[in-house]
Point group: C2
Chain length 788, copies 2
């Protein structure tokens, strides 16, 4: 490794670093007197000190060096900061680079702006203490740890000219999601994808504990990183001048190697996986901060994690220490009399969109290209009459997605934890392979380095990749077993919060929605039983702000096509689509499906028996299996009680159940009442946990009369129909419930109830003995001709 040429101006680099550090400390502490024109007084100090200093100087150090490399090499570079608690750092850098004042004109690049910059940090009405959506150049909120690498890779895919520098903190490195994401090296095509440069930052401590990777032998550490597929370069120390020279050399070596890898692959066409370079930066926590406070060591210890000097507003000695610390950066050399960074610092930053704080990829909506979508109607199942054809909904969706994949070769990817084919989306593999850049052996099924179906058995990595891909303006779909979507609950929280926040930031442009296809759902876990049954991801998502969440339960293939087409066109949402993969009855032809999906909820006249009169009872359903069971229940009831007036309401867009004041998709009260009546019993068969329906209709006139059937954590190893029976959502339980409700209004012949109860009892005996479902599906005859 060669040290950089002597013409590198390390003094200016160091000055830039000192400026970023000064601005970081200022943000944590100061309300006023930003240039220290006068000695610090109590009223200059914020009343509450909230921020994280410990990791910040390291982030700033790396920022300064990346800037040098960008300028020297004219790089297109993004910076993902795993230790995003160090929020003041990138804010300081963006202000130094001028970007901050461009996107927030009130925070000008002068003394007044500096005062506002300081005051707003972690201050009511200001900005968060972490790297956040408000931070220009960031796609990565630093609150929850573990996703820096997967975000970085997501950004690099299909961006061949982009280099994503990703600092991984040694705290973050202990998390599962981060540990798994190192293996992203096996999913990069050096010909077509950009590069990720991981910088493992060992500052030795978390909040209170040492970190694992900082406390194993260097031999073990190097061994581990090689095992991940990297060739690490270690830079360790604490002397600034020395560290500048060595880090610059390491960065040059890493970037040379990346360039060489990419050129070789691109000129030869050979994508063989290389050992990608990475850097290990070992530097003190709270580097350049106070060495000791109140006789306790601070720099280089866990005490530097948050606010190293605790009470400078009330404690004179603390205030003196703080001033000494701030002055140690020699602000007079860094800012002119107006508080503007001196020319040498301004010149060090790259220009325009080469500034990492202004890189367009980090504002994905700005580089977004619309998907080119085929006409989904071309993939429709033929349904000459309702409930006559059968089909596998996700398999049919797969043919549509195959052509989406074909038409958007650098703008769309699919993600799944080894479940793409199990979820019956295998048609997409006719358009592209699965991404795979480890060893390929004869007999492997359609794996290749340039495939765009991304499968690793890590929901966290899939989610992180997809988020990175979306946040840089591209499109995607995550298909998962329904139950295991919970693995990414917490990631969904963070993404929802990101979307909500960016809705309120003018310069952030809308990005494509995060689309989930949840299949292999609770009702069809024949292979896997109890452990794979959980429809609660919907509940989790619905707790987020209504403006960012959408939930769809298309009952069949054509409605699924229509819903998927819609979701792929949307921006800034989390769309959850739940759909089955098993052969199932098809209800609607494509025109009716479109009409139904456009409404999101509607009366199925063809399935109802209440023509032109007020119904006796409403049977409502949401989800494929509940819809089938509901229609079968109608059939059972209609045969026995031909004069019973039943209305069938099907719900595709779950949010339609809410009030229009509670959700943008909500239905006005009058419209809701027109569907569900104001006083008739409503027997509702719902895909998930039943209480969600109660919650959604809580404010509706008729909610007292809603009787919801759903999953109640019953059933394990049994047949699909028996699963419904055990959870009381099958046709017989639904029909019996209808009889119960109607009986309160008018007499019901006793023998009909007894007959249904007998069938249920016989069912259990049969299933336990034969291991298969009784033949319970009857032919339906609907007089209807269309949907309402």
């Amino acid at each position: 490794m060669q040290l950089p040429t002597t013409d590198t101006d390390f003094d200016t680099l160091d000055a830039w670093w000192r400026a970023a550090n000064y601005l970081s400390v200022g943000q944590i502490y100061l309300m006023d007197n930003p240039l220290l024109r006068e000695p610090l007084r109590p009223e200059h100090i914020k009343p509450r000190l909230l921020g994280h200093w410990g990791t910040t100087p390291g982030l700033n150090f790396v920022y300064a060096h990346l800037n040098r490399a960008i300028t020297t090499r004219d790089l297109d570079m993004m910076y993902v900061m795993g230790p995003g608690h160090g929020g003041p750092g990138p804010v300081a850098a963006a202000w130094l680079e001028g970007t901050y004042s461009e996107v927030y004109p009130d925070i000008s690049r002068d003394e007044d702006g500096m005062r506002r910059l300081f005051r707003q940090f972690s201050f009511p009405g200001g900005i968060p203490s972490h790297v956040a959506p408000e931070t220009p150049g960031s796609i990565h909120e630093g609150g929850e740890l573990g996703y820096s690498l997967s975000h970085a890779y997501g950004a690099a895919f299909d961006n061949p000219d982009l280099i994503v520098a990703a600092v991984v903190g040694d705290g973050e490195a202990e998390t599962g999601p981060l540990a798994a994401s190192w293996h992203s090296t096996k999913f990069v095509d050096p010909r077509r994808d950009g590069a990720v440069l991981p910088i493992l930052h060992l500052n030795g401590f978390k909040i209170a504990n040492p970190t694992v990777l900082a406390r194993i032998g260097e031999d073990e550490l190097i061994s581990l990183l090689r095992g991940y597929g990297h060739e690490p370069i270690v830079v360790a120390g604490d002397h600034p001048a020395d560290m500048h020279r060595r880090f610059a050399a390491a960065l040059d070596a890493a970037l040379d190697r990346i360039s060489e890898i990419q050129q070789t692959a691109r000129s030869s066409g050979n994508a063989t996986r290389p050992a990608w370079p990475m850097i290990v930066l070992r530097s003190p926590k709270g580097w350049t901060g106070p060495v000791e406070v109140d006789d306790a060591p601070v720099e280089g210890t866990w005490r530097a994690h948050q606010v190293p000097i605790g009470d400078p507003r009330r404690n004179d000695e603390h205030r003196r220490l703080l001033e000494e610390w701030l002055r140690s950066y020699r602000p007079k050399e860094l800012f002119d009399d107006d508080g503007v960074p001196v020319a040498a610092l301004r010149d060090l930053a790259p220009r325009g969109t080469r500034r990492m704080s202004a890189n367009p990829h980090a504002n994905g909506g700005a580089v977004l290209r619309d998907l080119i979508l085929p006409d989904f109607r071309d993939y429709a199942v033929d349904v000459p009459e309702p409930a006559t054809a059968t089909g596998e909904a996700t398999r049919i969706l797969g043919t549509f997605l195959r052509d989406v994949m074909r038409r958007n070769a650098t703008n769309f990817r699919m993600f799944a934890p080894d479940e793409n084919n199990s979820n019956r989306l295998d048609a997409v593999l006719d358009a592209t392979d699965r991404t795979w850049n480890a060893r390929i052996e004869p007999g492997d099924d359609r794996v290749a380095p340039d495939g765009r179906v991304m499968e690793i058995l890590s929901e966290h990595t899939c989610q992180g990749w997809l988020e990175g891909y979306l946040l840089t303006g591209r499109h995607g779909l995550f298909s998962s077993y329904e139950a295991f979507a919970h693995l990414v609950d917490s990631m969904v929280n963070q993404h929802a919060k990101w979307l909500l926040t960016t809705n309120r930031i003018r310069w952030r442009r809308p990005i494509p929605s995060l689309n989930y296809l949840l299949t292999s759902h609770v009702w069809r876990q024949d292979h896997n039983g109890f452990s794979h049954q959980d429809p609660g991801f919907i509940d989790h998502v619905v707790n987020k702000k209504p403006e960012v969440v959408r939930v769809y339960l298309p009952p069949d293939a054509n409605t699924l096509l229509s819903v998927a087409d819609h979701c792929l066109r949307t921006r800034q949402y989390i769309n959850v689509i739940v759909a089955g993969k098993q052969p199932a009855v098809q209800f609607l032809d494509i025109d009716d499906a479109m009409t139904h999906c456009r409404k999101g909820i509607g009366i199925w006249q063809w399935a109802s028996t209440d023509r032109d009169v007020e119904p006796d009872v409403v049977l409502a359903c949401a989800g494929d299996i509940p819809t089938m069971e509901t229609l079968a229940a109608v059939d059972i009831l209609h045969r026995r009680f031909p004069d019973l007036r039943i209305r069938v309401v099907n719900v595709v867009d779950l949010m339609r159940l809410q009030d229009d004041r509670a959700h943008p998709h909500g239905l006005p009260g009058a419209h809701f009442d027109a569907l569900f009546t104001t006083d008739k019993p409503v027997v509702f068969a719902y895909h998930g946990y039943p209480w969600l329906i109660h919650r959604l209709v809580y404010r509706r006139t008729n909610h007292e009369n809603f009787h919801v059937h759903g999953y109640i954590e019953e059933g394990t190893t049994t047949t699909p129909f028996d699963m419904c029976v055990l959870n009381r959502i099958d046709r017989y339980h639904l029909a019996l419930d209808v009889l119960d409700r109607v009986e309160r209004i008018r007499p019901i012949a006793g023998h009909a109830r007894e007959e249904l109860e007998n069938i249920l009892a016989e069912h259990t005996r049969y299933v336990r003995t034969h291991g298969e479902d009784m033949p319970v599906i009857t032919d339906w005859h609907w007089q209807g001709v269309g949907i309402d």
Copy 2:
């Protein structure tokens, strides 16, 4: 590495393996004719074939070898199977060892029992297809992947004589939780803890894709495992006789090394972390199964994952292949005429509790020792009068936990993702250190190999360790930032399902509850803001079966003590306790706290103004901050409207809100109505998402009159009181809501409303300018003397 001595009877070992494989295939396919006394006929085959063959022969192979080692060395050994999809394997082994028939007498160890064994597998009314609670010897459900190693370590902690063999599948190895858990090596004390022997099983494929670790170079793989802190021994091949000899040698070498490590550490007292041995087993997926079916290769490919021969019931050639496969194990040599395993096989198994299927640690309730608990009343805060003292609830709890730790030196551990001190439980560090067996440096704060506060920045690893610890009969507490409990949502699902299932298995003995202390909660994320605000873990947990979940919201320190004491005594629950860590007003002295917690819900007479009359309005509260704001609202109202009759109801045990038919803690209707009236407005301040309260009281008489305030995803970087204001749960919004409700019944002076609205407006201005809360806490004067 030395090959085992020639007196090892590899023929018998192989016969045992063949028997286990035969029994595994039989479980997947056969309903009848278990001994193949006649040629297979269609009716012998199950109508639906559900199971996973691919991983099973490898699991059986390891089982046979572990048995040999147990017998030779008289080991106390458990077996955790990460690839738990291979459910037939351990069931077969348990039956061969006799345990299965002991715990399930109807599944006798003879032909009739074998028939039942086969039929019940993945059959309605039978057992799941994965390793499951029903499987003797297992503490690990094989449904969701990623937790085998952390479970294994959890079992090994404080069990010095136990060796836990843990097979990690190469699919599972791609998950985040598993990837993180390798670093458990830094948390083992070889003097005091048992050993984990990881066996990384590379069979090369997941459902449809190759696996990462099977497709990187062996140099990278070895490097990776050394980086994790292991010295790997590789055994690769497919020839049984050869593999037997080599695996036996590898196992001997690993066990010798473990023994040597432990002896050295225990005799010298030096706990220095060694490179623990592990084994890499590279063998074909579906080993010994059909090589080819329908002209496609099966053994050694992803096609072997589930049911390799698809349709032997209808397809004659498939049936012939299946019979050939079964007979390849030579069942006549393995079972006598009655279907009993031949003596040589019976003798190979260890005896009694040395059998892994009968190891008492794997039925944790059987070895459980009650915690020795100090009297929690001794740790109480002095509260001479309600709302006069202040205290930090979790800090006080910490003093109680310190003494729990002292009195239960091998029976209790605490777990936290580097948050123990941040959560103010630091008193426990006076009783023990943090567990740490990596390098220790001067200045480190109370870390030691034999510490029992387990901190790694991986919620998944903490949870997995704790689960393993509980499942082997010990006790523990997991403290976490509230928002990040969502990281383990999916693990909680699996544990809840495990508990629910074991409640129905007679031989499984109750294990200690899984206790969560969620603190650093949504209302006090001053340092971290929006990304750290999410109270939805409660909602997630409440979706599980009522019989296994409990949720507590103690409003202050003394109630927290009482609740924690209770939770530590319980079995088979998931207890979620939410409590604050910040200095807060204390409401109840210890006697009142006990009374209140015993009831779980109650009228606070001392805070109410409706003495002996029907109230005009009920103010209800659950959670520390909501309780404080509610009492302040009462104060505000009482000063202005002294004749307004207000009743205060505080809820500690959230499940009390439900009906007694819906939850074991549920309150009968009449009792509920007595608290909340049947017709008066109820203004409810709740800690979390407000709709949960609506859901819980949905069936109550007065539910229409419940007006719930809670977290609505508002607020980020601001002051604690402003957080309340933004989410409309502060005293002024509560008081205004009361005025709204009461106004419908009787007139309210307009100026009072205006005054409160003005205070709120002034508040916002003040906070945005000063960065701190307005002084809004007033002195309360309660005439009351006790609680109801």
